[in-house]
Symmetry: C2
Subunit: 358 residues, 2 copies
C-alpha cells in the first residue's frame, strides 16, 4: 500500500497534527521538527493523494472563459471543448462560467473582463483581441490578483500570466517550409490569404512564412478577406484569374470556406500547393477531396485543458511548468487525418461524451 500521513507520523515520531502542519505549511512547527517530518516524507516516499486532499478541502475553482461569438468553426470547436470541461467537473473540481462576446470587438472583451472581475473567479481565460482597451482591462484583472490566461490569441506577455496557444511565427515558418518543398521550384509565385493584419496571430504567421520563403519564392501582397466567406471567395477567384502562374496559396486565417469554394469553382487545375490553418469540417473535407494539400492545426482541446491546468496551478500558487504546457503545431495531410470523432475537424456531436485526456 502507498504510505499515508499516518505512516509519516509514525516514521517521524510526531503526531498527525504536526504532519498536517508541515504538509500544508501551517505555522507552529519548530524548524527541527519540520525537518524530521520532511525527512520521513522523503524516506518513505510519501506522495499526497490529491484526490483525497481535494475531497477533504472540497475546493472548487470557479473560472471564467471569454470566447468570441460568430460562425468561425474553430472557435465553435473551442467552445465545445470548454463546454465539455464544464460538463465533467467531477474530474477536476472546476466550475466554469462561459461568456460569449461579439467577435473582433475589443470593447466587448474589455467589458466582459471587467464583469468577470466583479464575480471574483479563481481565474480567467480569454481569447484576446489585441486592442488597447483589452490590454487595460487585462491589467485590471491582474491588479485584482486574478490569474489571467490568453487563449489562442495573445496579448503582450506583460499583461497576462500565460498564453495557451501555438507559436504562430513557428507555424508560419512551418507553412513556408512545406510550401517551399511542395512547389519544388525556385522563384515560384505564392499568394497569401489572411483575415486581417490587425490580428496578432495572423501577423506572426505571415512573418514566419515570409522568413522561411523569402529567398526562394515570390510572395504576392497579402489578401485580406476579413474571414468572410463571400468576400474571400471573390478575392481568390480574382487572384486565380489574374495570376495564372500562381503555384501556391497559404491561407493563414479562418477564411477557408471562401477559399475552398473558389477552388471548387475554378475551371483550371488548382495551384500545386494549398496550405491552410485549423482542422475543421470544411478543411477536412477539402483535404479529403484534394482541394487542400496540408492543414496546420492547433488542438483546441489541448489548449482548453492546458488553460485550465495553468489556471489551477496559478490559483494554488504553484508555478506552472511552462515547458509542459506548450501547444504543438499539428500538420495534417489527407493521409494522417485523425478520426472524425477524435479531433476538432469533426462532424458536430450530439451531446458531450467524456473524452480521453492527453
Amino acid at each position: 500500500m502507498r504510505p499515508t500521513v499516518h505512516d509519516i507520523a509514525a516514521e517521524a515520531g510526531v503526531s498527525l497534527a504536526t504532519v498536517d502542519r508541515v504538509l500544508n505549511r501551517r505555522p507552529g512547527v519548530k524548524a527541527a521538527t519540520r525537518m524530521r517530518v520532511e525527512a520521513a516524507i522523503a524516506a518513505i516516499g510519501f506522495v499526497r493523494d490529491m484526490a483525497a486532499a481535494n475531497l477533504a478541502k472540497s475546493r472548487v475553482y470557479p473560472f471564467t472563459f471569454i470566447l468570441p461569438a460568430g460562425d468561425n468553426s474553430f472557435m465553435r470547436g473551442l467552445e465545445r471543448h470548454v463546454r465539455d470541461a464544464m460538463a465533467r467537473p467531477s474530474a477536476d473540481r472546476v466550475a466554469i462560467s462561459l461568456v460569449i462576446v461579439p467577435p473582433f470587438d475589443g470593447a466587448a472583451v474589455a467589458r466582459a473582463l471587467d464583469a468577470a472581475i466583479s464575480n471574483e473567479p479563481a481565474g480567467i481565460a480569454v481569447v484576446a483581441v489585441d486592442a488597447p482597451d483589452v490590454v487595460d482591462a487585462a491589467r485590471r484583472v491582474q491588479a485584482s490578483g486574478i490569474p489571467l490566461v490568453t487563449l489562442v490569441s495573445d496579448l503582450g506577455p506583460s499583461c497576462r500570466d500565460h498564453f495557451a496557444g501555438i507559436d504562430n511565427h513557428a507555424a508560419g515558418r512551418t507553412a513556408g517550409s512545406l510550401m517551399r518543398r511542395f512547389v519544388g521550384q525556385e522563384s515560384a509565385t505564392i499568394a497569401v490569404l489572411a483575415g486581417s493584419m490587425l490580428v496578432r496571430d495572423h501577423r506572426d504567421r505571415l512573418d514566419g512564412f515570409r522568413a522561411a520563403l523569402s529567398d526562394s519564392c515570390r510572395v504576392l501582397p497579402v489578401l485580406e478577406g476579413q474571414d468572410d466567406p463571400a468576400a474571400t471567395e471573390r478575392l481568390i477567384a480574382d487572384l486565380l484569374a489574374r495570376h495564372p502562374d500562381i503555384v501556391g496559396i497559404y491561407s493563414l486565417g479562418a477564411g477557408n470556406r471562401g477559399l475552398i469554394a473558389a477552388l471548387q469553382r475554378h475551371d483550371r487545375p488548382r495551384p500545386r500547393a494549398v496550405i491552410a490553418h485549423e482542422l475543421t469540417p470544411h478543411t477536412r473535407a477539402a483535404l479529403e477531396g484534394d482541394l487542400i494539400d496540408a492543414v496546420l492545426n492547433q488542438d483546441a482541446g489541448h489548449e482548453v485543458r492546458s488553460a485550465i491546468r495553468v489556471l489551477k496551478a496559478k490559483a494554488d500558487g504553484i508555478p506552472a511548468v511552462e515547458a509542459q504546457e506548450r501547444i504543438r503545431i499539428d500538420i495534417f495531410l489527407k493521409d494522417n487525418l485523425p478520426f472524425a470523432d477524435d479531433a476538432d475537424g469533426m462532424s458536430p456531436r450530439p451531446s458531450s461524451a467524456p473524452r480521453g485526456a492527453n
Copy 2:
C-alpha cells in the same frame, strides 16, 4: 454545489441505502423504485464523484508492462513514460510493474506474458513481437480473463483487447504523400530503409508507402539494416555510391543513426527528400541540421497513457471508446519541433541517458 447521493435520496424520497443499491447495481430494489431513483438522478443532474468513489473503494489497478531492452531510443523513451506513470500513482491509482525483456525475442516475450499471468494483474500491456509463441501466450492471457493491450507493435486483432499505437499503413501513406510532394518530379528514384520485414509495423509502413507512391515514382528494393547502426551506415553509403540518381530516402525503422552517419559522411549533396520515423535525440538533431526533412512520430507518452486508460476501462468492465484512443501520426519538420523537454525527441536526461541505435 454539485448534487450528492444525499440529494438523490431526498429527491426520490428513498434512503441512502437504496440510492447506493441503484447506483452500484446491487440487487434488492423494486423496478418501480429503481426508476424513481434514476429519474431523480437525471432530474438533479447527479454525476458520481469518481475521486471520492475510488477513494472509498480504495481500488488499485495492478498492471504489468512488458517492454524490450536494447538501445533503441524510442523504446527507452517509452520506458521513461511508463516509469513516469509509475512514479505518479496518485492521480489514477495504478500500480505498474515493469518487465524488460531482450529485444526481438519472441520466446522471452511469451515467457514474460506467462509470468505476468501468474501474478494476476488487472491488465497487461506488451510491446509485441509478431511470433507464434507470443500469439499463443497472448491467448493464454485472454483465456485467464486478464485484459491485454499491445503497445506500439501489434499482434492480430483476435489475440488482444486493444492496440495502443498508430495505424502504420496510414503512416506509410503519409510518408509517401510527403515524399511525392518533396521530390516534386515524376518517375523519381526512391530508396526505402527498414529494420526487418519480419516486423509487422515495418511491413505495414512499406505497404502504405508503396500505395501512395507506386504510380509516380520508382521505389528500389527495400534495404534491411536490422536497425543496426554500423550495418545500416554501410548499406546507405553503398546505396548512395551506386545510385547517384536517388532523390528520396524513406527510413521506416529504427536505423536512423546509421542513416544519419552515412548522410553526414556523404561528400555529394544528399538526396532531396529524407523522411524518417520517431522523434529521438538523433532524428531531432538531424532535422535541425538539415540532414532529414521530415520525421513521422508516434507520441510514446500518449500511447502509454492511452494503454493505461484502456486497461482501466477493461478492468472495470466499461467498454473503452476506441475512437477516443486513436494515436495520431505526428509530422515534424525542423520548424515545428516541440521543445526538447516536452516530447520524446529530447536531449538525454541524467536518469537514463540512452545512446546507441536510432
